[in-house]
């Protein structure tokens, strides 16, 4: 039951400025994911919310109260660390009970609280074991148990799944989403994995070099990325970015010639872009299909995943191009294919990497 507001957060380590004027308003019960490449400042931002790092300037408000100088417990946050940070010499019970022992909670209440957490996380029969006797996923659950046991207002997760293998990570994603729903808590989750971000988040914050690139719902980021960075970061496989030249424009569309000679009219607002300018056209791999006319691509590598086939190839002057085609598409490595592109699915970025507003993109529900 808490809102979390960040007001103009700045952070420098010595001369290095790692966070630039970050302002976010996170709503009650929202699951917000901070995503970005390594070194973008996402973990630092989380540690600032936790109270493990001080801001250089700016304010942190939880439930409308300024907690910038408060201790983590007084902020009402709890945190799950990347390495789980379990105490190896204590049993699962003691690990989960640790925050309550610090509060000097009476034993019967503590038993009840620990058992309730253990029940939620299916750890009831593991309470007397040491962390060393548990599997990776179980350890992860113990770490989560320790964070839920004292009913914080805001949960913070610092790349909690990065130490798990791929299959377990998928399971834990589902468990975390369920946990979020059953606890009805505000959660902030840091990851560098855009799949985790897309699957779990109510809203995603894309960070790059200490700045917020975009803050929005997963589908908003997918269909309406504001910058080239967001466009290429969200979506799997990554969006293709083809250099193009503007041939002409009107109010609702832009005529471009792609690298390789293919011409098309993309329904975007031209804005300040005019004839002769260089732009980049973004085409998602899943938005192309085999056709008679369109982009001519030489397929270098073909990955057949069953349901889909991913091809990696090159267009024009060697610009890399990836396409996601039906599983049994009749293609072979080393041969050219023609890929049809619907201009309505394309994104256009100006020389600064900012998007030109799309006219044909799907309307977003809520």
């Amino acid at each position: 039951m808490a809102t979390l507001d960040l007001l103009s957060i700045n952070k420098s380590f010595g001369a290095a400025k790692v966070l630039h004027d970050i302002s976010l308003a996170i709503e009650d019960k929202e699951f917000v994911v901070f995503v970005g490449p390594s070194g973008c400042g996402k973990s630092t931002l989380l540690r600032i919310i936790a109270g493990l790092e001080e801001t250089t300037s700016g304010q942190i408000m939880i439930d409308g109260k300024d907690v910038s100088d408060a201790h983590p417990v007084d902020r009402g946050i709890s945190m799950v660390f990347q390495s789980y940070a379990l105490y190896p010499h204590l049993t699962v019970y003691e690990n989960i009970a640790f925050p309550l022992r610090v509060q000097k909670m009476p034993q019967p209440e503590m038993d009840a609280a620990v058992n309730r957490a253990a029940e939620i996380l299916q750890l009831t029969d593991k309470l007397q074991l040491k962390p060393g006797q548990l599997s990776g996923g179980q350890r992860q659950r113990v770490a989560i148990g320790r964070s839920i046991v004292r009913n914080p207002k805001v949960f913070l997760f610092d790349e909690p799944l990065s130490n798990l293998d791929a299959a377990l990570r998928g399971d834990m994603r589902v468990e975390l989403s369920q946990l979020h729903r059953s606890l009805e808590a505000t959660m902030v989750y840091v990851t560098h994995d855009q799949v985790e971000a897309m699957t779990m988040a109510d809203r995603i914050v894309v960070l790059n070099a200490g700045r917020v690139e975009q803050f929005g719902t997963p589908m908003e980021l997918y269909h309406h990325p504001k910058t080239k960075f967001v466009a290429s970061f969200i979506g799997q496989p990554n969006m293709n970015l083809l250099p193009a030249k503007v041939l002409g424009s009107d109010a609702k569309s832009l005529k471009v010639e792609l690298d390789g000679g293919h011409q098309m009219v993309v329904p975007v607002e031209a804005g300040l872009v005019s004839k002769g300018d260089n732009v980049e056209v973004g085409i998602r791999p899943e938005h192309v299909s085999l056709g008679d006319s369109g982009l001519s691509v030489t397929v270098n590598v073909l990955e057949r995943l069953g349901g889909v086939s991913i091809t990696y190839g090159a267009v024009g002057n060697g610009t890399r191009f990836c396409a996601s085609l039906p599983g049994d598409a009749a293609i072979r490595e080393g041969t050219p294919v023609t890929l049809a592109v619907n201009p309505d699915d394309c994104h256009v970025f100006d020389a600064n990497g900012d998007v030109l507003s799309r006219q044909a993109a799907p309307e977003l529900a809520g």
């Binding site: 936790a50 109270g51 493990l52 201790h71 983590p72 417990v73 946050i77 709890s78 945190m79 660390f81 990347q82 390495s83 789980y84 940070a85 379990l86 105490y87 190896p88 010499h89 640790f98 925050p99 022992r101 610090v102 509060q103 040491k130 060393g132 350890r139 320790r146 004292r150 130490n163």
Partner: protein, 280 residues
């Protein structure tokens, strides 16, 4: 296997180990041999390594030659134990502070600690004597304990600090986020995980305390009842002759309890180092 050696390499390794062990252990062996033979045999010429009339006579005679021998052995262990306990009380918070906190002159003061180690107690004996006299500690146990503690703190801080630095910082951050104070975290999280390191440092301090007490004992203490074993051994040097065999027997008896403790601790140490890995 990465660490497989050829036969020749193994032979070389064992040869080197043998040389090293002989160098270390031969004095103990000679002590033992000397303690077994009658005094007159020790001065025979040519020197006989093996004699026929070995006996443990010296081990019973020594208690009569030096009636306070038991007391001396006890004093040695008592002083070394007290020094170790007191030193640890000072070392633990200091090492933790050096490992985790930031404060002015941190590196400078750490370097000074190391610098102090370069002075042996001998250089400072006279000023120390004056200090102890002013404080009225001469001829008490404290005269041997206080300087012992002072000289062992620097090494201990250096040893323990590097051990504490290896404990993952995230564990302490987790405790901090859950509301634990520094001292609570130190007591409940850091120290339990540092047990192997504490034993290593404790053992090193104990050895140091045991070895250095001789100098402090003969300078700062005149009271026979308080003397530790190394000083007490002097009583085997009589006006007429030196009962070497009894002196060797007493020396061996004196270090025996310590050696037993160490054999026991060594097992503990290996077990402690491998158990409770933090994460893979």
């Amino acid at each position: 296997m990465m660490d497989r050696y050829t036969k020749l390499q193994m032979a070389g390794i064992y040869f080197a180990v043998t040389i090293f062990l002989i160098f270390i252990l031969l004095p103990f062996f000679e002590m033992f041999m000397a303690s077994l033979r009658p005094l007159e045999h020790l001065f025979r010429s040519p020197y006989q390594f093996w004699s026929d009339d070995f006996s443990f006579q010296a081990y019973s005679d020594m208690w009569e030659t030096v009636p306070l021998l038991g007391r001396y052995i006890w004093n040695s262990v008592y002083i070394a134990t007290m020094v170790t306990l007191l030193t640890m009380i000072f070392i633990i918070p200091a090492a933790y502070a050096y490992a985790r906190l930031d404060f002015p002159f941190k590196n400078a003061s750490l370097a000074i600690f190391l610098g102090v180690n370069m002075f042996t107690g001998a250089v400072l004996l006279i000023p120390l004597y004056r200090v102890l006299r002013t404080m009225g500690l001469l001829n008490t146990y404290w005269a041997m304990i206080v300087p012992g503690v002072a000289f062992l703190i620097p090494t201990g801080i250096w040893l323990l600090r590097s051990y504490l630095e290896k404990i993952p910082r995230e564990l302490e951050e987790a405790a901090y986020v859950d509301g634990a104070s520094r001292m609570y975290t130190l007591r409940r999280v850091v120290l339990p995980l540092a047990v192997p390191g504490l034993i290593v440092v404790g053992v090193a301090v104990f050895i140091g305390a045991y070895a250095q007490q001789f100098l402090f004992a003969i300078t700062f203490n005149q009271q026979r009842e308080l003397q530790p074993l190394p000083a007490g051994l002097f009583e085997f040097i009589g006006y007429q002759d030196v009962t070497w065999n009894q002196m060797m027997a007493a020396a061996l008896t004196g270090i025996l309890p310590v050696m037993v403790i160490f054999l026991f601790l060594q097992k503990f140490l290996v077990a402690g180092l491998t158990a409770g890995a933090v994460k893979e």
